[in-house]
């Protein structure tokens, strides 16, 4: 199939993200990229685990973390992963409007998550945990902050795609772009599941 073909709901292929060679390449290349990202976060997690008790007299994790806000943030992000699945479902059915709608909801949930994270970091700074306070502080802010930066980048990315393609609808040129953006969003979600467990749960009880 060709990139610029005009398609209808009947002729739209079942896997539009892999229907062209360009799409196949993007799909595979992005999975490889996520493999590299996994190692990147693994390195950040390993460092955090080895430094999480090194508070150097500053606040420690069980003094700082509050379940409520982290729990709400987790729910927001998990839900946003679900809504992005809906968006991809509608993409495969060539329903551009519904795809945009669910992507919009995904972005809103992601933005709310990011807002909570900024609020949370602000709180911690006020409670005396600056980036330079201790090795725990540095490794905490770097791990969770890198994830936050990924969320911010993902939001800008999905928004750019939504606005850029708002008028022209779906084709085989932009379908792989939407698809890899949603893959990226799932990856961010998976990383957060580990952050929630390793940083917050283990930080409060472990």
């Amino acid at each position: 199939m060709h990139v610029e073909e005009k398609l209808t709901a009947e002729t739209f292929p079942a896997s539009p993200e892999k229907a062209t060679l360009e799409g196949k390449n993007k799909f595979l290349g992005f999975w490889f990229f996520l493999g590299g990202e996994t190692v990147l976060f693994a390195s950040l997690f390993a460092t955090f685990l080895s430094l999480r008790d090194r508070t150097a007299g500053g606040p420690s994790s069980d003094e700082l973390f509050k379940m409520s806000i982290v729990f709400i943030a987790t729910m927001l992000l998990l839900t946003s992963s679900l809504t992005s699945v809906y968006a991809m479902y509608h993409m495969k059915n060539f329903d551009f409007k519904k795809m945009q709608l669910w992507l919009g909801i995904t972005v809103l949930l992601g933005a709310a998550f990011l807002g909570l994270e900024i609020y949370e970091f602000n709180e911690y700074v006020h409670e005396g945990l600056k980036y330079s306070t201790s090795a725990f502080a540095s490794s905490f802010y770097t791990l969770v902050g890198t994830h936050g930066a990924h969320v911010a980048f993902g939001l800008l990315w999905i928004l750019t795609l939504m606005i850029r393609n708002a008028k022209r609808g779906l084709d085989l040129y932009n379908a792989p772009k939407f698809y890899v953006a949603s893959l990226y969003w799932h990856f961010i979600d998976v990383v957060w599941v580990f952050i929630f467990t390793v940083v917050y749960l283990m930080g409060m009880v472990g």
């Binding site: 290349g29 590299g36 090795a135």
Partner: protein, 619 residues
């Protein structure tokens, strides 16, 4: 969609190219220049150490030269030069018209280039990094000035480029192979590129993270490595070597691939034990990730960790041995032609085995306490890196030069280069084993007389000048060839076995007028044995889709280059932060443009291809 490629000036053409063959030439030129710089640094080191109590350079400057020699040679010379050969050859070897991501290919190059440029700007802006190429945190955190910051930010930028290049090759090799090019029909150089790219993908992120930590500690008040605030300096060592050891295999596996091609071609035999060669490459790649802590035996990890890493390290000798014997058996009974590339291959086998033997010696954890930080280690890794990688790069350059530039390098001068370089190499590094065993520590800027090290060091320094002379002959050869060289045939050496020798030299921008049908290992050889002149096509002649050139890769990389300066100086000057942000805006702005502007490429029409092919056949 435009149909005709516009005529452009040469410089603009290369600044915007996304053609893998032109990017290969860019990598070759940039990597070659960095290789010369690293070589000059090596000469300075050897001049300083030629006699005891020398004061050719000061101790501080010596540290900078030594650090930059290692960093430049690994990151800015060896890897880019390998990327040059990979870009020039791999897509054609698998019967593809281009790589999977031509735009990213260009981006990878420019990121590497600007990263290397940034690192070398340090010479003129207050001093180069001086904590060794490993830049251990306890040392580098204390280093005054901005030298280490140049190291951290420069490697971060160029490392990004390498990672992008690695992903590009992985996807290219998985998705872009011609019909019939199954995995077990891929030439060994393609296989080793594939495995090396996988290593890049998994090894570079830990370096990225280590460099982020170092950047945070030095520039933004982080405490990862500062024990006073709970940090741990050993974390850097682990992250660095989790990257650093696979890096050795990222370099040497493609070198193995180059020699596999050359030995098979000039023995006029298919590679002995092809499937065991592939198996060995994959196994080495896997084991390469299991052994990083053998660089840290003396850190104090304890006997159990040391024993595990020692045994894992020794295990790598098994697949490597498989390869050595396969090369020997390929030579055995072959119709051997001693061309320049073949001389390098023959020289490589015993040289590399010597590096391997000292490797097993170093892997013996208890004995390593004696070798550690001595010239024995310096001798060991130069035997594998120079005796393996650099010989392969020189061999590959001579071997594929006609395919890249369309002219044959002079064989006579090529052989002079080989003998000068090969003799110089052994003269320089063989004696260093004994200097090390006699107790000479590495990374010292001078030594006292009367310890029995004088003769050894003098011999070593003389050897370095032989290598320099060999390199100069190569440069002369390149200049002469460029102006007067003999035009190369498609099958430049006459014995080509793989697909790159089926297309004209240099290859047309679309590589194959018709995608070939691959009918066996050594696809071209298969056709030759059936008396055919060309390849069997897998498709009718038609229009060929090509990617558009783009200036954006240059701009994206330039943005990071500017940004790195800003953030580096943000504590010293008020404009620092501003410049840092502006640089990032340039980068992200260019990425944004790439995202929103459609780029469908263009087509070369059938008629133009037929004309070009006719011209190519005549020339």
């Amino acid at each position: 969609m435009s149909t005709v490629a516009r005529k452009k000036s040469l410089i603009w053409d290369y600044l915007t190219t996304v053609d893998h063959k032109k990017i290969a030439i860019l990598y070759l030129i940039a990597g070659g220049l960095f290789f010369l710089m690293g070589g000059v640094e090596a000469l300075f080191i050897r001049i300083q150490l030629a006699v005891p109590n020398n004061d050719f350079v000061s101790a501080g400057l010596y540290n900078e030269i030594l650090t930059m020699h290692g960093t430049t040679m690994i990151f800015l010379a060896a890897m880019p030069l390998l990327f040059a050969l990979m870009n020039a050859v791999v897509p054609i070897q698998i019967g593809a018209r281009d790589v999977a991501f031509p735009f990213l290919n260009a981006l990878g190059f420019w990121l590497f280039f600007f990263g290397g440029l940034f690192l070398n700007c340090s010479w003129f802006l207050g001093g180069a990094p001086d904590a060794g190429w490993t830049s251990y945190a306890s040392l580098s955190l204390e280093s005054p000035g901005h030298g280490i910051d140049f190291y951290v930010l420069g490697l971060q930028i160029s490392g990004l480029g390498t990672l992008i290049g690695g992903i590009n090759f992985l996807v290219t090799i998985v998705n872009m192979r011609a019909p019939g090019m199954t995995y077990m029909r891929m030439p060994l150089f393609t296989w080793t590129t594939f495995v090396a790219s996988a290593l890049i993908l998994f090894a570079f992120p830990p370096l990225t993270v280590g460099l982020i930590f170092m950047m945070m500690d030095r520039l933004f008040g982080g405490n990862f490595f500062d024990p006073a605030l709970g940090g741990n300096t050993i974390i850097w060592e682990h992250l660095f070597w989790i990257f650093g050891h696979p890096e050795v295999y990222i370099l040497v596996l493609p070198a193995f691939g180059i020699f596999s091609e050359i030995i098979s071609t000039f023995s006029k035999k298919r590679l002995f034990g092809y499937s065991s060669m592939v198996f060995a490459v994959v196994l080495i790649g896997f084991l390469g990730f299991m052994v990083w802590a053998h660089h840290m035996f003396t850190v104090g990890m304890g006997p159990i960790a040391n024993a595990i890493f020692a045994v894992a390290t020794m295990a790598i000798a098994v697949p490597t041995g498989i390869k050595i014997f396969n090369w020997l058996f390929t030579l055995w009974g072959g119709n051997i032609r001693f061309t320049t590339p073949m001389l390098y291959a023959i020289g490589f086998i015993p040289s590399f085995v010597m590096g391997g033997v000292t490797g097993v010696m170093n892997a013996t954890a208890a004995a390593d306490y004696q070798y550690h930080d001595s010239y024995f280690v310096v001798a060991h890794f130069h035997y594998v890196i120079v005796g393996g990688v650099v010989l392969a790069l020189l061999a590959g350059t001579h071997y594929w030069w006609p395919k890249m530039f369309g002219k044959m390098l002079s064989e006579k001068l090529g052989k002079v280069t080989f003998w000068l370089f090969f003799i110089g190499f052994h003269l320089t590094f063989f004696i260093q084993h004994f200097l090390g065993l006699m107790g000479m520590p590495r990374r010292v800027f001078t030594f006292l007389p009367g310890q029995g090290w004088e003769t050894g060091n003098l011999i070593s320094s003389i050897g370095a000048f032989f290598m320099a002379a060999g390199t100069i002959v190569l440069l002369v050869n390149i200049v002469i060839t460029t102006f007067k060289g003999k035009k190369a045939e498609a099958d430049a050496w006459g014995d080509g076995r793989t697909l790159e020798w089926a297309v004209s030299s240099p290859a047309p921008e679309y590589n194959f007028a018709q995608t070939p049908l691959v009918r066996g290992l050594d696809a071209l050889w298969v056709e030759k044995m059936e008396g055919k002149k060309g390849l069997t096509p897998a498709e009718p002649l038609g229009d060929i889709h090509m990617p558009n050139p783009s200036f954006l890769p240059f701009v994206i990389s330039l943005g990071l280059f500017i940004s790195a300066f800003g953030f580096m100086y943000h504590k010293d000057y008020s404009w620092g932060l501003m410049v840092g942000i502006v640089g990032l805006l340039i980068t992200f702005g260019a990425m944004f443009l790439r995202s929103v502007i459609d780029d469908h490429g263009y087509h070369i029409h059938k008629e133009e291809i037929m004309e070009a092919e006719k011209k190519g056949a005549k020339a």
